[in-house]
Symmetry: C2
Subunit: 204 residues, 2 copies
Amino acid sequence: MAELSERSGVPAPTIRFYLRERLVPQGLLTSPNQAVYDESHVRRLRLVRALLDIGGLTVEAARGVIAAIEAKSGNDFAVLGQVQYGLTPRSRDTGHDAAAEADVDAIIDRQGWRVRDDNPARASLAQAVTTLRAIGRPELLDAIDDYARAADSLARREVDDVLAIDDAEAQAEAVIAGVVLGDALLSALRRLAEESALADRIRP
Amino acid sequence: MAELSERSGVPAPTIRFYLRERLVPQGLLTSPNQAVYDESHVRRLRLVRALLDIGGLTVEAARGVIAAIEAKSGNDFAVLGQVQYGLTPRSRDTGHDAAAEADVDAIIDRQGWRVRDDNPARASLAQAVTTLRAIGRPELLDAIDDYARAADSLARREVDDVLAIDDAEAQAEAVIAGVVLGDALLSALRRLAEESALADRIRP
């Protein structure tokens, strides 16, 4: 356990919590208080930590994602989709109106995107659009095609990176990392860029 | 209260909760059980709801943002920055290493960004970079300049929109909407774009 903690960089109490919550498989017991862990445990530990701490997923949502990875068979589009769908949206669903759904359809059409009707991101997007209107900030709505184009170009690169990976488990993990860490990266980068753009405009 | 609920689209029990938590100012009491609310209450209600439900902020963090808006005086760069800094990062801070800090400095340098040392997004970005390395997904790190360029172009447009607004309170609200709802928009759009890019690659 001490060695596993050192190799993964995850504290031992945290590892015990993950084991208890079945987020990480048990090691092979070699004596009553000694277990053997291998490289797969190290990788899983890091992934679980990323899901919970960076992605902000609940333990239950993380367990769903892990289950999807373990149930996978080969390079399967459906599985990669399931993994992506399993990542909970980052906001509570407070509902959206039919006009926002039409907006979402129009955005998807304009980008020429092929997206299933049950992609949960449709509802997330419709909710954000509804709120933009409700709080009277429709100017962000004018910018939405800029956002969509940026998302499209980042997504194409991400998918190329994912498909370049051989191992199916590693592919699923890359999808998770791309979705979850990509959100964290973009969120932080936008905050930095916003401060800089404001500084440029106000004190050139 | 019934009229306020109808005009703002926020249910009465939720409004009472916001009033109790001092997120929305009390109305002017005209009788023991009758209060007058005006347009500023309606706008504040919608903003608070966006902060909590879309932004995922805690009540305490939302109160900090509201306090920054109320303390503002005129079109002030420092205040807009404070509002932006007050928006909690979306991930728990699990620490980052010195190498990641150097990466962040290098990214900021390459973009030519002017960012204060105490911008909390530096730590958020360093944390995401640390995790990318830890989980063995450095290929996302190669893409980080693409992410930074996308963030930069979106931020410039956002700042132009914010500075086009006359009223200082409305400006602060626009910063919040841009940061918080921009995250939600990009997150949802990336998920849609990822599914489409995957579909294009696997089943053209």
